[in-house]
């Protein structure tokens, strides 16, 4: 048996919070006790609920918002309510969709990967593009997110259908985003109308100013900029309804040799929380 750590580390300069306009914020560390003065080090850590490799439930705005981000979810658990036997040693199928650059997964990709996999009823899902490696993330910084593969709308819909058919409840992927960088960063960090140089991320004045220019939406929704029709739609909110959680930005899945693993998922335990950074461990049995 071997255990692989598939968790994205958290560090200042990690890409996710740098490139999406709001309300995602970057990682920052502030040392307030230091070796040279106190002989002891203490750090204030500021992270987003999507920093690292997050575990994101349909209650993502909880504890501050009492409603799920979408109606019609088939699972009702917040972070502190997910039964541990749904998180530990979960049989998980590996779905392979090799992808790099700014490729957007399609429904056909999902079907092809499912057909080639050893997918058993009740499995959780780890969809592997091969993009997610720790060194690539360290070296590329914010470009890791902007230049990595994402999930096209139809792939989100198809994955949700498959997961319901197969009674799968947790989706994990080594893609840096569900949806695509072009869709999520449109008019900010991606696309022909991106702002150059890029403004500072949330909660900068420019990021807050951007909110003033977007249509008001309910608290459970994310304000959206106008996008060209050919960009399509984002599939995250459709997909989340079929899952206990969606988990992105895993790394090191390329080191898995088997077609199936047992996953251990340990999200940071937040009282009535909806999403948090998570540790992911793949347990690979001896063959």
């Amino acid at each position: 048996m071997r255990v692989l750590d598939l968790s994205m580390p958290i560090w200042e300069g990690a890409g996710y919070g740098e490139v999406l306009p709001m309300p995602n914020l970057p990682v920052s560390f502030t040392e307030y006790m230091t070796y040279d003065w106190h002989g002891l080090r203490r750090t204030q850590i500021k992270i987003d609920d999507e920093s690292g490799s997050p575990f994101m439930t349909i209650w993502q705005r909880s504890p501050h918002i009492s409603d799920p981000i979408e109606d019609g979810g088939i699972y009702e658990w917040r972070l502190d309510e997910v039964p541990l036997d749904r998180l530990i040693m979960r049989p998980t199928v590996i779905l392979d969709v090799p992808a790099s650059g700014d490729y957007a997964l399609t429904a056909e990709d999902i079907d092809r990967a499912v057909a080639e996999a050893d997918y058993q009823d009740g499995d959780e899902v780890l969809l592997r593009t091969g993009w997610g490696t720790r060194m690539r993330a360290y070296e590329m910084g914010e470009r890791y997110v902007l230049e990595g593969p994402g999930w096209g709308y139809e792939s989100c819909i198809r994955m949700g259908e498959v997961m319901r058919e197969r009674h799968s409840a947790i989706l994990m992927t080594d893609a840096p985003l569900i949806m695509t960088a072009l869709y999520q960063g449109w008019g900010w960090s991606a696309g022909p109308e991106r702002i150059v140089p890029r403004p500072k991320p949330w909660p900068s004045t420019e990021a807050r100013e951007r909110l003033l220019d977007l249509p008001e939406v309910p608290a459970t929704k994310t304000p959206q900029p106008p996008r060209p029709a050919e960009l399509g739609k984002g599939g995250y909110r459709d997909l989340i309804k079929s899952t206990i959680a969606i988990c992105k930005c895993l790394v090191g899945a390329d080191e898995i040799r088997s077609k199936r693993v047992d996953m251990i998922m340990m999200p940071m335990l937040v009282r009535r929380g909806g999403a948090s950074p998570c540790r992911f461990f793949a347990v690979e049995r001896d063959e």
Partner: protein, 256 residues
Amino acid sequence: MTYIDLTMPVDWEWMPDEVFPTATQLVVGPPRDALKGFTLGNETATCLLLPAQFAEFRKTVRIDGIDTASLVLRPTRVVDVPCEPGGALTADSLSAALGRSEVATGEAILLRTGWGDSFAERRGSASYMLESPYLSEEGAELLGEEMRRLQTDLVLLDTALVSRPDKHLMSEWATLSPRGAPWPSETARGYLRGYTEERVREDWAADYALARHGVMVAKKLVNCGRLPAGRIFLIVAPLLLVRAIGATCRVVAVVD
């Protein structure tokens, strides 16, 4: 297989470590607010602290360098050390407890005093920290030596404290009424300017003793009363902070 969550949740309404100026205030900010996200410290909730927290050992392993085998399905021995509130785990009590427990080579040690089971009823009260059992310096030294002999590097506590910082922090800060807010309050900043290495070493002597023996410490575990005696397996999952000396940590027991 039974899974038991030994983790104190991150709770935006109350985090016990904020009794001390050495802690940072937890904030769980709402969406579209400037404080959105999590602001937390190395010791928020159940946490794992490393020897590298001390200057002398800063060149030892950091959170992102811990071998996965040390953390996942780690064989662990539950060692019962009953202790009254505010009492010390001394060299004698720890020696007796370890002697009864037959810790095997390489096993992590979970010291169970019973204190963590009172966490829920003490929620909102400084008593959870200020009346917590703790390790005496001599007790920590004995524990560290024994762990070195057993070739093991991880101890887990259901107490809120490793050291009781009663040389300075308790009298100069924690027992004041009203008590100052933790860092980054101005009062905490002012206090920490004078909280120099010598005073830190005096207050955190037991922590330092364990660090000297290369011991990682997880503290503020809860629900340990549900664990059986003897051997269990643990999943210890700290936030994967690059080059950090400690982090908030999920701890789950796996029991046959």
